[in-house]
């Protein structure tokens, strides 16, 4: 523990480790201990086959006898192709799984006899980061205009199939968090092409050379958007932007690459060498809303830091520091709400959506139905019983 801070609570998520067992000489020695973990939890590692299954059995001499497992253990199997999860559940090979939160999966689970659905809004968001150090994106108005020119509600229905599963992203605080300022305090940037075009005009971006692309002091409004292929939503969103932004004189080049390269070109690259205009990614957040070190922290603008956009705002830095010195949760909530409204307005990184998580659970499994945003299924294992 370094200095007192309300955010230190997340350090307890690692659980208690036995000092002597994990004493280690070389780095390899420590990391090889991961193959023979010793913990104090309800389950004990029994056996595993790389890339195939991990078998954990109930820990009989668990310290909290009242909460010992009622089931023999848990068997994790590896299914590469996401499309096969529900087929395996239907086939009875698995008891519960976490498919992508899409309407088609919800529909399939609801139609599946002997299985039911558990879903909740997750603690995290997908975002679209603008490189604010670039002349094209340094003005707040340009970023806002681009948002107005992107029909995000339609994207949500197109990608996830229904708006029950996702809600429109507006601020970098999870909607499920106690520090969320509430929808009415935030600007939804509803789809309005004329307004977007007008904002660009007012910001000085006009089409001087008549090539259909706006420009200012000789710089064309041409943006490179990095997408990774491991998920489908960046492709859909960029495909829509390509069309709607094109209508207001913004040229968009979409570059598809693997996740590692996107991370390397944006976050890991040294300041000044971050070769992107826009990149999209999804983050799941820790239990505390404190954003320091994250996307919006000016001090995190470095090689390996999360603030790839190079965003710096004194008010935002002040609020973040204030949030860490205040221990009363209600007062902290007010600070972060104010901070969230500020980010919603400055939009260095636009929040695209708050996604849900869904679990498809076989009916023979009882006790898992109250998995929630802050309650992981591992915390419910002691209540689980099977038919």
């Amino acid at each position: 523990m370094v200095d007192p801070s309300p955010a230190n609570i997340q350090n307890f998520t690692y659980g208690i480790l036995e000092d002597e067992y994990y004493a280690h000489g070389s780095f390899e020695e420590l990391s090889s201990k991961n193959n023979a973990p010793m913990g104090a939890g309800k389950l004990v590692l029994e056996g595993w086959e790389p890339k195939q299954y991990v078998s954990l059995v109930a820990n009989n001499d668990y310290w909290d006898a009242a909460n010992k497992l009622k089931i023999e253990g848990v068997l994790f199997t590896n299914i590469e192709e996401d499309a096969l999860l529900l087929a395996a559940l239907q086939n009875g090979d698995i008891d519960f799984c976490q498919p992508q939160a899409k309407a088609e999966n919800v529909e399939q689970v609801e139609a599946m006899p002997g299985a039911h659905l558990v879903s909740y809004l997750a603690n995290g968001y997908t975002f679209m980061c603008f490189n604010t150090t670039r002349p094209t994106l340094e003005q707040k108005e340009v970023r806002q205009a681009l948002l107005y020119a992107l029909d995000r509600p339609s994207f949500l229905t197109a990608e996830y199939g229904s708006d029950q599963l996702v809600s429109l992203g507006m601020a970098p605080i999870s909607k499920t968090s106690w520090a969320y300022p509430g929808d009415d305090a935030l600007n939804r940037y509803d789809y309005d092409l004329e307004k977007a075009a007008q904002m660009l005009e007012d910001a000085g971006w006009t089409d001087t050379d008549g090539d259909g692309i706006r420009d200012k002091n000789g710089v064309p409004l041409e943006l490179n958007w990095l997408v990774y292929h491991e998920a489908t939503w960046p492709g859909t969103l960029s495909g829509m932007a390509y069309d709607s932004w094109g209508k207001i004189g913004v040229k968009l080049n979409i570059q598809q690459m693997d996740f590692n390269t996107v991370a390397a070109t944006t976050m890991d690259a040294a300041p000044g060498e971050k070769d992107f205009d826009i990149y999209t990614m999804g983050f799941s957040l820790s239990i505390d809303p404190d954003p320091t070190g994250g996307l919006f922290d000016a001090d995190a603008y470095s090689a390996g830091g999360y603030n790839a956009s190079g965003f710096r705002d004194e008010k935002s830095q002040e609020l973040m520091k204030a949030g860490l010195t205040e221990f009363d949760q209600d007062k902290r909530a007010e600070i972060y709400k104010e901070w969230a409204v500020l980010q919603n307005e400055l939009v260095p990184t636009a929040i695209v959506a708050y996604r849900s998580e869904i679990w498809a659970v076989s009916d023979r499994v009882h006790g898992l139905d109250d998995i929630g945003v802050y309650t992981d299924f591992t915390q419910l294992l002691q209540n689980v019983t099977l038919d």
Partner: protein, 321 residues
């Protein structure tokens, strides 16, 4: 013959080192690093940089190459950070499945492809010939993952004849050797068919064209004139000659036995070398990547050598001095 093999083996070494050297050069250019994938919000940049330096020190690539080579000579192929295990063990886990799968696919391809090739050659331009040719071309025309997915959907998901995923059913992890083997074989049926189907086409077309060339030669007419049955004329005299190019084809397929098939392994969730190399590339796991590629390069070079040796074994006219 023996010193020919020794000479070829000596030739392999420079080519092998050349390939690895170029590979190091390319990897060094690849953007991203071992730690780019880590998205843990609590991981501070300094910690990340320290881990990066530990795992993949920023030395010039040729220095790294010689360090790696000297270690590799001693059999230490480095440590795979992601799997928390030495590279050798990680490859070991995946090579068994890939070898079994590719071997079965190769055998299926040969057992079906070669006879079909002979039949369609002996009955050229007949209905059988055209039918078999189109059927084999269908095998080549279907993208593997597409054919695999359809087969999986129909046979496994809908008709439940085959398992949907994985190499084994975890429930009999503790069963005796034979049930485990049977279970793994049962899991490999569909993937082997998918992998084998495209191979059937190439074996068939190879056999057909080489049989066509042999069937019209004079010694076949002599064989008939000797009063031998048509079956003996075709399968002993003709095929024995037509076999020569096919044997070299098998030699070139050897590396395939351990290079793995990414798409089949992904669709059927099999622990194969193909998927492992894709994962190694996307997580920039250099030690693992180099281990795999060193193995594959050796296999390819040996494959060509084996192909030549098989060629000499099958064709008495070839004598290597």
């Amino acid at each position: 013959m023996k010193n020919y093999i020794i000479r070829r083996l000596l030739q392999i070494i420079p080519v092998f080192l050349g390939i690895l050297f170029i590979l190091f050069f390319i990897i060094d250019k690849a953007p991203g690093s071992i730690t780019s994938n880590i998205m843990d919000p609590t991981m501070t940049p300094e910690l990340k940089a320290a881990l990066q330096e530990k795992l993949d020190p920023s030395l010039p690539f040729y220095v790294k190459f010689f360090n790696w080579l000297s270690e590799a000579m001693k059999g230490n192929f480095g440590y795979s950070f992601k799997h928390y295990r030495p590279v050798i063990d990680v490859i070991g886990d995946n090579i068994g499945c890939t070898f079994a799968l590719s071997l079965v696919a190769l055998i299926i391809a040969m057992l079906i492809g070669i006879p079909c090739g002979i039949i369609s050659a002996t009955k050229q331009y007949s209905l059988v010939d055209n039918g078999l040719t189109v059927l084999s071309l269908v095998g080549l025309a279907l993208p593997t993952f597409f054919f695999g997915l359809l087969l999986l959907k129909v046979l496994a998901v809908d008709m439940k004849l085959f398992p949907i995923f994985g190499l084994m059913n975890p429930l009999n992890a503790k069963a005796d050797f034979w049930t485990k083997l049977g279970d793994q074989a049962y899991h490999l049926v569909l993937p082997a068919i998918v992998l084998g189907f495209a191979e059937i086409a190439s074996f068939m077309r190879y056999t057909r064209s080489s049989m066509l060339e042999v069937i019209r030669s004079d010694y076949i007419r002599t064989a008939r004139a000797k009063g031998l049955s048509e079956k003996i004329v075709i399968y002993r005299h003709a095929f024995r000659n037509a076999m020569i190019p096919i044997v070299t084809l098998i030699g070139f397929r050897l590396p395939g036995l351990i290079s793995g098939a990414v798409m089949t392994e992904t669709i059927f969730s099999l622990p194969g070398v193909g998927k492992l190399s894709v994962e190694a590339v996307s997580t920039r796991n250099y030690p693992l990547l180099l281990g795999i590629n060193a193995m594959l390069t050796l296999a390819t070079l040996f494959g060509t050598l084996v192909a030549d040796i098989l060629y000499a074994a099958v064709d008495p006219r070839i004598k290597y001095h």
